[in-house]
């Protein structure tokens, strides 16, 4: 017996987790002598208060959708890919190479090629961890974490060397050629005569993210491959009985996962206002993806909602530290609290709620 209705599982638990995180955040604000109500108002304003800020929130949410999907797909196969961070960096490398070295006539072609390259590079970066997991049983958590460090090293090497334009001091590629720049939502809205999202970098790749959500949904619940991924994730012994190859499915699921993380780079390199690849291109999105996937219960719809929330938190937090004397570290603490309560401490909230529902069930059954 599950004991808990679905709405409680999907809505009530995350809401209570968020409330707990909020309560502790309030305590933290009071401890450092800030007015929590003011801080919350500022954060909310910073996240959605102006069209510009909303645009930033959506921009970050786009990142988190990709990394959330990355974690979720692996999770369905019972694999914990925490290498999203490194896979995003490699994805950036792929997108950058395609944009810099190939003269594209139009951004649409660049988008297709850039997405493909980003996905390919992200997927390639997980090949070795995936192989080691599938064939040698080396734990994917350990190997992908190590690969994050290597990705970071590789990126700096590339940005300080082969990809660095002559005559600059910045560890970054040059600005990509004009024809590869993706239209921002501001530009798109302009076509319809609307003035939206100001100078924010939110761009067309948000639609790519939404398309990826649909793709993952179809893959996981409507294809044989998804069926096999879920079967393997739920019961390896049963998968073996059914003739599902654990090695193949582990590899494939992780490659798809890495590819999704890689595609985040499209948003974060080709989509930004001055498109280029910088050394901290991932910005922690790979890790936030874990919380997004957990909170979204590994379902694309949940992931979109969780990504919006984390996007707002990210952007609102940035405004908060810009507008007040609140140090940026406090914002990180708040984000960490949310991640902790919605992700790591999920079961702490879930199990008492499950018990309450069990008791309610029983008393209503007794009342019949």
């Amino acid at each position: 017996m599950d004991g808990m209705p679905k709405w409680a599982d999907v809505v009530l638990v995350p809401v209570i987790s968020l409330l707990l995180a909020a309560i502790i955040s309030v305590i933290v604000f009071m401890a450092i002598g800030q007015n929590p109500w003011e801080a919350i108002k500022l954060m909310a304003y910073g996240a959605v208060g102006t069209s510009d800020f909303l645009g930033y929130t959506l921009f970050y949410a786009t990142n988190f959708i990709f990394t959330g999907l990355c974690v979720a797909v692996a999770f369905h196969a019972s694999l914990f890919n925490i290498g999203g961070e490194g896979q995003v960096l490699l994805g950036g490398l792929g997108a950058a190479i395609v944009c810099i070295f190939i003269p594209w006539p139009h951004w649409t072609l660049a988008l297709v090629a850039g997405s493909a390259a980003a996905a390919l590079f992200g997927a390639l970066w997980v090949v070795i961890p995936a192989y080691l997991q599938a064939r040698r049983g080396s734990h994917i958590v350990i190997t992908t974490i190590m690969f994050n460090f290597m990705a970071s090293g590789l990126l700096i090497f590339m940005l300080a060397g082969p990809l660095k334009p002559a005559g600059t001091m910045q560890v970054a590629t040059g600005i990509f050629p004009e024809a590869t720049h993706l239209p921002s939502l501001h530009d798109l809205a302009g076509v319809f005569g609307l003035d939206l999202f100001g100078r924010s970098p939110v761009n067309i790749s948000i639609f790519l993210a939404l398309a990826a959500c649909v793709g993952v949904w179809a893959l996981i619940w409507h294809t044989r491959l998804g069926f096999e991924i879920r079967a393997l994730g739920r019961s390896e012994s049963a998968a073996k009985y059914a003739g599902i190859s654990a090695v193949n499915i582990t590899m494939i699921a992780l490659l798809i996962s890495g590819g999704l993380a890689g595609m985040m780079a499209v948003n974060n390199t080709m989509g930004i206002n001055s498109p280029q690849l910088v050394d901290n291109a991932a910005g922690g999105a790979g890790f936030i993806g874990i919380a997004v996937a957990l909170m979204g219960r590994n379902h694309p719809v949940g992931i979109v909602i969780a990504a919006l929330l984390f996007g707002a938190l990210y952007q609102g937090g940035a405004e908060l530290s810009a507008a007040t004397s609140v140090q940026v570290q406090i914002v990180v603490v708040i984000q960490a609290l949310v991640i902790m309560f919605t992700g790591a401490l999920d079961e702490m909230v879930r199990s008492p709620i499950r018990k309450i529902f069990l008791r309610m069930d029983r008393s209503s059954a007794a009342g019949e």
Binding site: A218, A231, A238
Partner: protein, 513 residues
């Protein structure tokens, strides 16, 4: 009222899990120095009741009296101090510890181990002699047989001064000879004044050794009778609530051509243990070959090889064509494509994905079936759902809800989902492992009928079961496995449980005959 207080008395015990009333107003009295059986179908609430008695669950209502004294049992420590000992179905022993260390574990006298062990050794030897347990205190658990391990569990309880011993399905893993030995020990314990509660689903055991028996059905204790005043048919009827056919109803087999031909099959597992040794047999169309044996003697590996998920050397022919035993074509998908269906021994670990809904489990293993696809990429979930609904109706799966997760069905209904999926493929060969393990009597009858019907449709069936009764009742030919080898083949009407029991214990053909 009797003069002596009952060793254990339960009054009005109730326990609910959510909307499920696992135990409903249960009252029993067990007199000291008796063996009391508790029998009931799966999910009747036997295990819940015993878990309450052992402090794993807290009852919603009711009282427990031990030797006439009202006793609270909040945890297993309290149960032990109240003199209750429990022998679980799955032993709770540390495999690389010696018998002595296992007995002392959790009952050490102080921080230092030596004095405890010395004291325990003396007591252990005394207990072992008193009850004729014949256990060597220095033997390491992983080196001794299952029967012996079970005696260690009994010793553990006795060492903790248990006066009331609860045994949960104790004979599931034993050979008939080992079971007899266990019953002798239980008899001895009874003579010494211990009280024994035996939980089982085997009617024969109840008849053989209990003094009184309680029948549970749907969480209620429906009746308690003296064993001498009842009989198996009567008990079965009390358990199920209707008349039950205890014998499998079938006409003599009419075997045709050989369908499955296994020659010199050898299996060595990952650890290098030789599990199946030079096994050869064949099965004809319209015939059920039963493989008897105590679990762990190579039957599981044999099924796994035939089912395509264990590598082997040797040859297997299906309708004259050789099967791939090591390469790309030795997987479950290829076997299914060749017409081999498989009801695996462990439905919870292999046959089903417990978190998947019934409809997903119906497609499981057959998810490449063209009827289940909408196009090259997308599966036709609606078609699977419809197929599942039809199968559920035909096999009387309850509740007939394809959206319900497998884990929310009872054992019997779970098994029906698996059997429906495999039998309705109309396979040439059906592999069946432990088809009725943990399945209630009503469903057993139905599943047996389905297997026989498939045989009568001219299919070859390999039945592996540790239940001798099932093997004897269902098989047209019986092979006995011991230590990876086939010890001999018998016709069911030309042998008896005694002879098969000897073969299962490794006596060769000559010795057994």
């Amino acid at each position: 009222m009797n003069d002596i207080a009952p060793a254990i008395e339960l009054k009005g015990i109730s326990k609910a899990f959510g909307p499920v009333q696992a135990n409903k107003d249960i009252s029993i009295r067990v007199m000291p120095g008796t063996i009391h059986g508790i029998i009931g179908e799966n999910g009747a609430g036997k295990s819940t009741l015993m878990s309450i008695l052992y402090g794993f669950y807290k009852a919603d209502a009711g009282e427990v009296f031990i030797s006439g004294v009202k006793t609270e049992i909040p945890d297993s420590q309290a149960a032990i101090s109240a003199g209750i000992g429990m022998v679980f179905q799955h032993f709770k022993l540390v495999k690389n510890f010696s018998v002595l260390e296992n007995v002392v574990l959790g009952a050490e006298d102080g921080a230092l181990l030596k004095p405890s062990l010395r004291k325990a050794r003396k007591q252990l030897t005394a207990l072992s002699e008193e009850y004729e347990l014949n256990v060597d205190p220095d033997a390491v658990i992983e080196d001794i047989g299952v029967g012996m391990q079970q005696r260690v569990e009994i010793l553990k309880a006795l060492y903790r001064q248990a006066d009331i011993l609860i045994l949960d399905e104790p004979t599931g893993v034993l050979t008939p000879a080992e079971a007899d030995q266990l019953f002798r020990i239980l008899g001895r314990l009874k003579e010494e004044g211990k009280t024994i509660i035996l939980i089982t689903h085997k009617l024969r055991e109840i008849m053989d050794i209990t003094d009184t028996v309680s029948v549970m059905r749907r969480g209620e204790m429906t009746s308690t009778v003296k064993t001498s005043e009842t009989n198996p048919a009567d008990l079965a009827e009390r358990m199920v609530g209707r008349k039950v056919l205890l014998r499998v109803d079938k006409v003599p087999a009419q075997p045709k051509d050989v369908v499955l031909d296994v020659r010199n099959l050898n299996v060595t597992d990952d650890k290098g243990v030789h599990r199946v040794k030079d096994v050869s047999f064949n099965i004809r169309a319209g015939e059920i070959l039963g493989i008897a044996g105590v679990s762990g003697n190579g039957q599981s590996e044999l099924l796994e090889v035939l089912g395509g998920y264990e590598k082997a050397t040797g040859e297997i022919y299906l309708n004259g064509d050789q099967l791939d035993l090591t390469g790309d074509k030795s997987d479950g998908q290829s076997r299914r494509a060749r017409g081999i269906a498989h009801v695996p021994e462990d439905r919870q670990q292999e046959g089903l994905i417990m978190d998947f809904a019934a409809w997903e489990n119906t497609a499981f293993g057959y998810h490449h079936d063209p009827r289940y696809q909408r196009n090259r990429f997308i599966m036709d979930n609606a078609a699977i759902l419809k197929d599942t609904q039809e199968k559920m109706d035909r096999f009387d799966v309850r509740p007939p809800n394809p959206m319900l997760a497998a884990k929310n069905f009872s054992g019997g209904n779970q098994q029906k989902i698996v059997v429906a999926r495999e039998i309705e493929r109309n396979p040439d060969v059906l592999l069946v492992g432990q088809p009725t393990r943990g399945v209630d009597i009503g469903a057993i009858e139905f599943i047996h009928q389905q297997i026989v019907a498939l045989r009568d449709a001219g299919k070859a069936i390999l039945l592996v079961s540790v239940e001798l009764e099932e093997i004897m009742g269902l098989s047209d030919r019986i092979a006995v496995m011991f230590d990876g080898q086939i010890m001999g083949e018998r016709m069911p009407d030309e042998t008896d449980e005694k002879e098969l029991g000897l073969l299962m214990a490794g006596m060769t053909n000559g010795e057994a005959a």
